[in-house]
Structures are given as structure tokens and as C-alpha cells.
Symmetry: C2
Subunit: 322 residues, 2 copies
DNA sequence: TTGAAAGCGCTAACAA
DNA sequence: TTGTTAGCGCTTTCAA
């Protein structure tokens, strides 16, 4: 009826009727029922955003990028968290898809065949983010973690380091960390270097974890001249430990992390790191969804675009320049 | 029809039919349309979770608490972010309520009259979290920030400090930080002490910000013997700065932050802080919603319960004990 | 510019 | 145990 037209700002309503309707709506505290609206119009202004975790600093920044871009549209991001568990991802995906969102932004490229099938059959734009080393269902926006691993390895080699240790998460489901390590060891072996030590941990990242692991590694393998950490947080812990021990950084020992976490600026030394382009990834992914939604918004048939961002290496004070 | 019964696991279906239906559903990649289901049953298994920000470490932990509890139920958290903007909160709230969720968990007690009216009229459980100093619409789960401010002030006084500076966010809409400061100055003035200096900042918290501010404050007011920071991140920056300057902590100068951020464990010294019970708050809030949803799930008429958690003071290495 | 009617894909209640 | 029917509250289409 007319009310519907007013509330959706569709033209062809006289100013007086409009006023009356608006007034009544306000008076009654009327909140339209999107469920009914969506059912009737088969349009839903929700974008499902599915990420593995909120605990590290990486996904919040992605989300900020997404919500920043979507704020200029009528789309609304809606978050689901999987805790890096494939079954949980299936469940969350199933739940969200059953609300028929306008698009899906989902972290990573690795998932169960069931999840992949759901995404393919949903008939909506799907953007897989953070990673581009693999086959996306539709579009992908991210960086190459293999390449990132290779680049940092090359920088370490160029810095003259030869006895290199790796410290990272054990989590077998963090595929991106795994790819970085692969790229890293690949580049090392091309230069005839083997990883001299490695150490994996479980649980949450933090300074304390970085300290512990560093201490253990240096006591077991004292002749290391470089430590590569899978993230900045444990890297920072290692840095603090080494400074306390009076180790000459970056000469006797070099250090590097990954992510380019901003809040760490202000440590006694700037940790070498590689920016993971988190915010840009979020923004680009949201733009893909918004653009497609504006143009009729189905899944791409041509095969979605692939947007590859280039992480920037920061030497900081813990990695010797060539 | 029968299909509906199978997919919702309602009894009274023979095993064979069930099998057939399930098989067909899988083969077709069928994902039920919750929109239609919700419209028909007027039940929606979504819980709206509305928070101001993801950038600091506080809300992610709340969300972890919420999703941990809701995982054992059929409820699904759905996140909205307001960036501390009341208009944005109104908008997000309106959007989410128009999907008729089973409950709302929303940060803080301060909001526009429009938002408050929407929450009241929604007819669903509403839990306002993080803060209990004020009048909730329905239920509230949190800590008293005024009390937290008073307690830390008392501990500082008891430690023998007298020339006290405060460093915190300028953000006029962070009501909880404001309440902590109020409680803090109240307790000081009861003891006949005035704040000897204060400094406010805008932008994101991080170590660098804490350093800068600390340097400025100590150069302007060198005779301070305590610095109270509105959060651990800038407090940690201040701590690092002071250690570098060779200041004798906690004797010449004491420091304290707020939040009990775990990842900071592993700094050269443990910063005194007060745990803000983030995870517990999330868990308790989710339980309130889950319980009410299980019992017919409307808004509380009796006035919702109020769950007040008690933050624990940690002296660390930067606050002298009495 | 407004009103009336059909129907979106389910669930709930009832009948078979 | 299964099938049938009438809505849920909107949007869309068509008629007035």
C-alpha cells in the first residue's frame, strides 16, 4: 500500500500523505519488518563477513576497511566467526546463507567441499580475502603469502644472515602462516640455506609467548643469527627479550615479524615486518561486493576478478640492509 | 509439509521418509530460506551484538565470550559496529531490529532517546554491557567504572603517591573512560589531593602515543610521582619510555593502566592495571539472552537483572604496595 | 496519486 | 505418520 511507498522513498506519493504516514510511523515507534520485505522482494541488504578470529589484530582492521566502504552504500556487514574450525565455518556459512545476503566476504581460500559448494550455489558475489595463492570460488582480494615469505627470506639473505630460525604458530589450519613459511624456506633453499631451527606454539600470541620461545630457541641453538617470527606480537616479545639480554641487534642477531601491527610502533626498536594490507583488503573486497550489488548483483559468471596487493617490507631497526 | 518437519528435526516422521528427504536436500544443495521461516514462525535465531569499535583489544574479547556461550545454543551472534557515533548506533540498531532478532547485546548505557525507545519497544531481551553506572533499559552486565576509578585512586594513595597525573583519550563519547576518571578524581579529592596534570589525546591508542604523552607530561610537570593512564596500551608506551629514561619505577614514579590486556604480559615490567572482565561480561550477557530465549524470550517486565562484576587490581611492578 | 490483490517460502494447526 | 491449508508482513503489479 501507500505506506510502503513512503517508507521506501519511492516517488509518486503526495507530500501530505507522506507527512501523515511519517508522523504515524514515528508516533507508533514503527520499525519495518525486513523479514517480510526481504521475502517479498528477495532483496537483502546484508553482506556476510566470515573470519576465523578476532583475537589477533589482523581481522579487526579488515572489518574496519569493509565497514568504511559499506557505510556509503545501503549494505550492512554482518559478522560471523569460525575460530579457524572448518566445521564451524560450514555452520556459520549455512546460517548466513540461509538469510540470503547480497554477498559474502570470507577469509582464506581453503575450505571444505561442502562450504565451497554452498558458496558456488548461493548465486551471490563471493570474495575470498587475505590470500591469493589458490583457486577462488569467485573473486579474491589479498596478498600472496608465499611471495611474502620469499621476499622476507631474500631480504634476510641479502642482509648477510645465514643461520636462520623460525618461530610460529602450530595451528595447522592457519594456511596463510603455512604458506609464508613455505615461501620462506623455498627462497632459503634456493640460496642453499636450510632453516637452522624451528619452534611452534599453540594458544594466543603475546609478548610472553615470544619471549619464552626465543629463550628456548637461543639456548638450544645459540649460533643463530636471525629469527623470523610468524607474527609481530611474538616477534615483539622476542625483541624485548633480546634487548634485555644485551644482544646486539641487528648485528649479532636480526629479527623480523609479519603483519605491520601499528600499535607496536613505540617499542624500544622498530621490528622489521611486512605489512599485510589488512585495511586495503577489506576496502577492496567491500567495493567488489558493492559494485556487483549495484549492477544486478549475482555471482560472476566470467570468473571473479582477482585483486593482488603488494605487501611492503619495513626494515625497522632489526634487519640489516644489504 | 513433511520436508519442513525433517529439516527441523521435529518428530513424527518415519525413518525412511526422513532419509529420502535428507538425501534429496543434499543432492539439490538445498539451503532453507530462513527469511520465509522466520516470517512464518516469528522466530529468529539471531542475537544482535552492537559495539563501538574493534580496534582496541577490549571488544573482541567480549565477543569471544558471547560466541563461546551461544555456540551451545541455536542462537547466532551478529555484529554491528558504531564507531562510537550515536547516529551510527541508531542506524545499526534500526537495521538489526528490523530483522527481529531474539535479543540485543549492546555496549554502554548512554544512548539517544531514539535508540532507547527502539530498544524498549522491541519486545525482546536487551542486555547493556560493560557498564553499570546508570539506568539500563532492561538488563545490564558489567563493572562500575566509577568504582574502578576510585579503587585505583585509593591504591595509588595507599602506595604513598601524591603528585598524580592522568593521561587519557579525549573522545567525549567514551563514557566509560570518563566515569573512571570521575571516580578517580573523586577519590583523590576525598583524600585532599588534586590531579596535578592531565593530558588528552585523539586517535588510536598505541605505544607511540603513550610515549609522546608521557614525555610531554613529564617535561611540563617534572615533579609528578604517579601517572594513571586510561588504558593499558598507552600505559605500556609510557612504561617503555620511563624505563629508557632510567626512571626508578615504582619508587620515583608509579604507573597504572586499565583493562588487563593479556598480550602485554611479557613487557620488561608488568604494568599495574585493573582487569575489565571483558570475557566474563560477554559470557554473562549471552547467558541472559539464552536463558530468556529458552523461556519464551520476551523483554523482561520485572526490570532486567543487573550483573555487577568486580574488576581485580593487579599491582604488577609499577605500583608500590601499601 | 492511491488502492487492491497476489504471492514470496516457509510454519502451525488441523485433517486425513 | 503424512497431507492440506491459511497466513506471516511486506513488495509488486495492475486497476481505479
Amino acid at each position: 500500500m501507500t505506506v510502503s511507498r513512503v517508507l521506501r522513498n519511492r516517488g509518486d506519493v503526495s507530500a501530505t500523505t507522506r507527512e501523515r504516514v511519517l508522523e504515524a510511523a514515528k508516533r507508533l515507534g514503527y520499525v519495518p519488518n525486513k523479514i517480510a520485505g526481504a521475502l517479498a522482494s528477495s532483496r537483502v541488504n546484508l553482506v556476510a563477513v566470515i573470519i576465523p578470529s578476532l583475537s589477533n589484530m589482523v581481522f579487526p582492521e579488515v572489518i574496519n576497511g569493509i565497514s568504511h566502504v559499506l557505510e556509503d552504500t545501503e549494505l550492512q556487514p554482518v559478522l560471523g566467526v569460525t575460530h579457524y574450525r572448518p566445521e564451524q565455518e560450514e555452520k556459520v556459512l549455512y546460517e548466513m546463507l540461509s538469510w540470503r545476503p547480497s554477498g559474502v566476504i570470507i577469509a582464506g581460500l581453503e575450505r571444505t567441499e561442502v562450504s565451497r559448494a554452498m558458496l558456488r550455489n548461493a548465486g551471490i558475489p563471493v570474495v575470498e580475502i587475505m590470500d591469493v595463492d589458490g583457486e577462488p570460488v569467485d573473486a579474491a582480494v589479498g596478498i600472496s603469502h608465499k611471495r611474502a615469505g620469499r621476499e622476507i627470506a631474500q631480504a634476510i639473505i641479502d642482509g648477510g644472515y645465514r643461520r636462520i630460525g623460525f618461530l610460529g604458530t602450530k595451528m595447522p589450519l592457519d594456511h596463510r602462516a603455512k604458506k609464508r613459511l613455505e615461501g620462506f624456506t623455498d627462497a632459503l633453499s634456493k640460496a642453499g640455506i636450510e632453516l637452522a631451527a624451528q619452534e611452534f606454539y599453540e594458544g594466543t600470541s603475546g609478548f610472553a609467548k615470544g619471549r619464552e620461545m626465543t629463550e628456548r630457541m637461543l639456548s638450544q641453538t645459540p649460533d643463530l643469527d636471525f629469527l623470523y617470527y610468524s607474527n609481530d606480537l611474538i616477534g615483539a616479545g622476542g625483541l624485548l627479550y633480546c634487548l634485555e639480554k644485551g644482544i646486539d641487534i641487528p648485528n649479532d642477531l636480526g629479527l623480523a615479524g609479519f603483519n605491520g601491527i601499528e600499535l607496536l610502533e613505540g617499542l624500544p626498536r622498530r621490528l622489521a615486518t611486512m605489512d599485510s594490507c589488512r585495511r586495503e583488503i577489506g576496502e577492496a573486497a567491500a567495493r567488489v561486493i558493492a559494485d556487483r550489488a549495484a549492477n544486478g548483483g549475482g555471482a560472476s559468471h566470467a570468473g571473479g576478478e582477482q585483486i593482488v596487493l603488494m605487501p611492503k617490507l619495513t626494515y625497522g631497526d632489526t634487519l640489516r640492509r644489504p
